[in-house]
Point group: D3
């Protein structure tokens, strides 16, 4: 169950010079794949589905609740930036260059669809799609998904910081950037606590003896030229990160044949010619098994 | 530029007992958010946009090429599993329980739209959407996105392994699971090589002095009851993971006021009443800045 | 800014007999267009963009906060219902009819993608898309959007109530249905307070003298037979609902001509033949204006 | 079954000064969520699924047919506005400010993908998605969905009217605005005829005694501070709008406990640690039921 | 402008034995990518944007109007098939096998979201997305898009015909299949009239001398083994289909180098290491141009 | 199984004057419905599901592999064009007109989300959606889908060629245009080899005697005025294209009645009034069958 605080904001949101194009750029931080709706729902769904040690569930709920307040801050920032949106094309075209640029980069829906308010869309106007809420139920996988989200989220906030010279906006973004710093550290800490690289391979409750072990720690090259140099690094030799194998590398070749799905079936809506057996097909994998 | 090998498969794909419902489950590994189309395009786009040290680009290209072959294997597996798809509802209803179950869990489009072949959709029939191709251009963030994808990808492959008792399918999956093991290790190794936790906060080319530093390493609690226990762990005290701060925790309270967007503007399509100033609004952040 | 309560639920959520197919049906109430993610974000975005009298903003914030707790309840209900999900197809096929039916109607992703937890998708597995968050910025239009959402939301909850015979689930749904009753009344009350039908036509800040007034209160029939009976009702005669006109009805005929867009332009990628002027085109609206 | 009239338009569509940016803005009225494709298909699907009194079905069919003609008018308007689209970037950059602005605000796909014709997309270029076709089968709920659609539709048309100073476009929009006025009244009239607020709670064929009645007419506050003022209005006291209850208000507290989903299952792809029972989990709702 | 006929159908739609699973399969013909909403809007948008000879526009308008009536027929068929939908899970589980199968294959939303009516979605419940409305503005390309749509549309109708043994449904489908036969012929005829293969390459108003002509009529092989056999057929030798070249075939090799995008820019949110120049990068295409 | 060539490109990709707006336009050729991701995956999925004569499968695999290399070229072109992207709004506003225009037409995500790299989206920023991968399993239908894709693909490439005056970009596009010329010819050749128009109606393995033959070769007019002229052409008389019928034309009239779905069911969430039988409904098709 959740509560609000009468609309008070986590941190101040002020705009010195409203700018409709910057309002549009801010939308990426609301409804983009790196944005706040995503992390809010992601942490919430991870919490609500959490099985196992309770503290991860609790931590997820804390930070999911924090992120809801970040959406609120950004939605406020968008609305305040839209106060300078031009009302007509004539107005935009004849104004000074800055207003003019704003018209070019603004989302026209802010003028014609929302009465100058934020929308749950990204900076291209594409609505947020909840398939981006990654909640796998495996706590270690989820921690990694969260570090990733906060890394791209901070990248975005940093770029927005550079894009504007509005002091109010820079101040608000300095807070959001700081929180992204913490959250990157927080999810890494949880992942570390669970074992860090030793957690892997995820999921840990599957018997690795059932894997095709020859391929479990080998970097495979697919360069057409078998003698081409294979890119080397920490991944090409030494102990594997999970401590369960030794890295190697090799040039790959096919271990399977050419599949033959056989002729088209009369059950299916094919052309008559497809129903005939092709004489030079070499192998019907299924029939020879 | 890319090449093929006349259709030869990386690893054998055989099906003992075709099963239309398992064909549908396999679709998740093709077109799901954890699936092979996603990782193939993700590694490719990361490679094609890579700026900086060349070896990461090369490695990404190698593994992106590998994944294209995984889609091919899975598409073959789906087609082979569809050979037992019932052709009519009558047939399905009167058959033995296993065929019957298959009908229940199959994707009817395999029968009516594709002539018994795979589609680039997930196991709910939702087409893959390329917004899931995460390629941020920041090499460390991209490595994390990749570990995440391979972690959820291996989870999926493991569940598919448990779901079937077809020997051919278990064999194919044992290969894919092994590759996911390697890829988790591979991306972790690259991330480690770039500095591991010391890479953070991502992006590393932004001056942390511009952050609101009071909030950079503090776990914030949003429990309504200020005295409630805050979930503790590696994230609540000690050196931060990036080595640049010290973890702390606190109960959060609002640092901002209640925003007031003011009355509706006549530029916008509001109700007349909204255009009046509300007397008891307490603060117009914008005007007092 | 928002707070949580350590995960306590608004109302009890218990499941007597876990049922994976019912878990799937419940997903519609989470991620369907009539579901709780939609209303939660809808009321929040309406609040965050509200201009004009403050009390509507406050009310929206209250109920948006309530809805976040409803998502939490439903996500819990889904997770509890998934405890009986079959782990393999063999298991499902040989079980008793009820488990078997469950397999037929379950979302296989609950077994292979989420470790038996809820997802932000509907009962077809389609992820929620934020374009359904209707927040127009016009307070009266928004109230109507909200009554609509709560009406279809209650319809859904009622059907879920009928679908199950689990006492725990019926109890939880009786609470959600009650809240939908209140919310329908609440948004209607706000709409009434703003003037009810007299609010219309929305938006009220546009001068109706600029409309093509002959068409403002007339029900138009498009039956191909001019003498066919026109459907009559409250809309066909008497004072209009907004009190600003008198209803009438008429059989429509075209007031415009046939448009002629002229020949294809060499600017465009057309066929050469399209670039020639067609002799029997009757009217180029643009050129005669 | 439907008929056309050789392409004659319902109302004149003329463009004085083609403007590619306005063409883009008009797309919102074609393929936006408030646009004409939506209402056309919405009224059609409501009609085709209508059960119960025939006159609502007939009325829906009439207006659905009308809306198809509105799409036609707008598509014509877009095509006529595109005649001034610049053919190259060079041309755009060196032209006068108005053309230049047009380039900034135009949809480049109009130049590179459609040979200067309308598309079924909104003004951000996002294709219309039929999940917005609301047809619940409950006639009262559908009437409300329709009033909502016409309210936001008229808001949009009004904003487009303000955006342009083209006489032809203003004339066309004055017709569409008038029709939106009628349609708002029409759907409200049908809703009123069915009982107006007395129709509620929707659906009306569910026994309200099965609701958790304590919560059916109470405005709940979720302010973290129990003593905070609750927003008051028509919804906080007096007879409820449906006439079936009395409004009240209260500060909410949790009636449910903290859910405990228990340890992760070996059926699922979790980490081994999740499979252990957490000692300090307080309540497994499922087991105590 | 469009008209209706009081709801009369183009052809009879009767259902002998309602079947909820078949209702779901029929949805593919309404909202699938091969379905009737697609062709209806596709022909309409092609007509509304048609530039050049008027008769193509007229023909498109005719058939677009026909397709609207096909959606109506199918929506009616879905509603009639849903009359046997089970009302509860208990009911489904204990019924005879046919009803039971129906439950397995039905779209549960037909029971919980639409009051037993059709939706604009496909047989997986995925809403139709208007990006499938192909209207390029090039009349020859559009005719080909239309033959394609009618080919896959007829495939679908044929499979639905096989799936059911309901006499009413078979009769309705025999009509739709016949219309698809005509429409395939119709669009081919128009394409032929415009020049058939001689229309190509589309678009015809671009000077082929500007192409890299060495590659215009050559089948390229990308087999990794330069000596592998290249698949031969009508495309590998002889006059090209457009009559403007001679087919040939060759094994492809790269004509471009390895791109080097250079170091990461400080404008971007990269890692510091990416900002350094990589010593062994071999070529910066941009700088050497 | 697939191979790469160390990143070498099929053809040179150079950019003289980076232009962020042109980078955005190029995105249409990557992630648009006419773009290279679509054809790459389309040919691959057609190959992987091919049943019947092996040579079509082989040919599809060849060209699918080629298209992967085209995505690579375009992604490189986008990255090189982004080097002039402005880093702040201030910078954009004060620069010369060309840079300024670029800001207007650029995708701001290139600056804030990707570190100046390509994304799998179209020129409106809409991500590619794999529902556009048409692979029907019927080889003739698939060849037509492919000609269509290459026709609109070439239209797009031609428009991009006109849009730019950068010599490097024009050179790259001249190659892609040439390949589209070949591919149009190639798929037409395969279709011709399979029988050309004689392939039709597709699918060819369905007995045409089961069609409602009166409607199989007749152009139907839906003009409301029965005496209106019907558009004539190759489709209105003479032998049908498939050689199996004779074209005719007629003015259509309804062969079906008005459907009556009967009263609402108490199974559904309707209003009570809908549950009553409507006295003047004329026909319940289902009950009279």
């Amino acid at each position: 169950m959740f509560y609000h605080d009468g609309g008070k904001l986590q941190y101040e949101v002020k705009v010195e010079k409203p700018n409709a194009a910057f309002a549009n750029a801010l939308q990426q931080a609301i409804g983009g794949v790196q944005g706040e709706i995503r992390v809010c729902l992601q942490y919430m769904f991870q919490a609500w589905g959490a099985r196992g040690p309770k503290k991860y569930r609790d931590m997820l709920l804390e930070t999911g609740t924090e992120e809801m307040g970040h959406i609120e801050m950004l939605a406020t920032a968008v609305a305040l930036n839209l106060e300078a949106a031009p009302a007509s094309m004539q107005e935009a075209a004849t104004e000074d260059p800055v207003v003019h640029a704003a018209m070019g980069g603004m989302n026209i829906q802010h003028a014609i669809s929302t009465c100058m308010a934020a929308m749950p869309v990204d900076s291209s106007g594409v609505p947020f799609n909840c398939s981006h809420v990654y909640a796998s139920g495996n706590v270690a996988a989820d921690m990694l998904a969260n570090v990733t989200a906060e890394s791209t989220g901070r990248m975005l906030a940093v770029q927005l910081y550079k894009l504007t010279d509005d002091r109010g906006m820079k101040d608000m973004l300095s807070y959001l950037i700081a929180r992204d710093t913490m959250h990157q550290n927080q999810w890494l800490a949880a992942w570390e606590e669970l074992g860090g690289p030793k957690n892997h391979p995820i999921p840990s409750n599957f018997d690795q003896n059932l894997e095709a072990k020859d391929f479990s720690y080998s970097f495979l090259s697919f360069h057409k030229d078998k003698d081409a140099e294979i890119p080397t690094g920490r991944w090409s030799q030494g102990k594997s990160m999970d401590g369960k194998g030794e890295f190697s590398q090799k040039s790959m070749e096919p271990f399977g044949g050419v599949p033959d799905l056989g002729p088209g079936s009369e059950k299916a809506a094919v052309q008559k010619k497809q129903e005939e057996k092709d004489d030079d097909s070499f192998l019907n994998l299924n029939s020879v098994f």
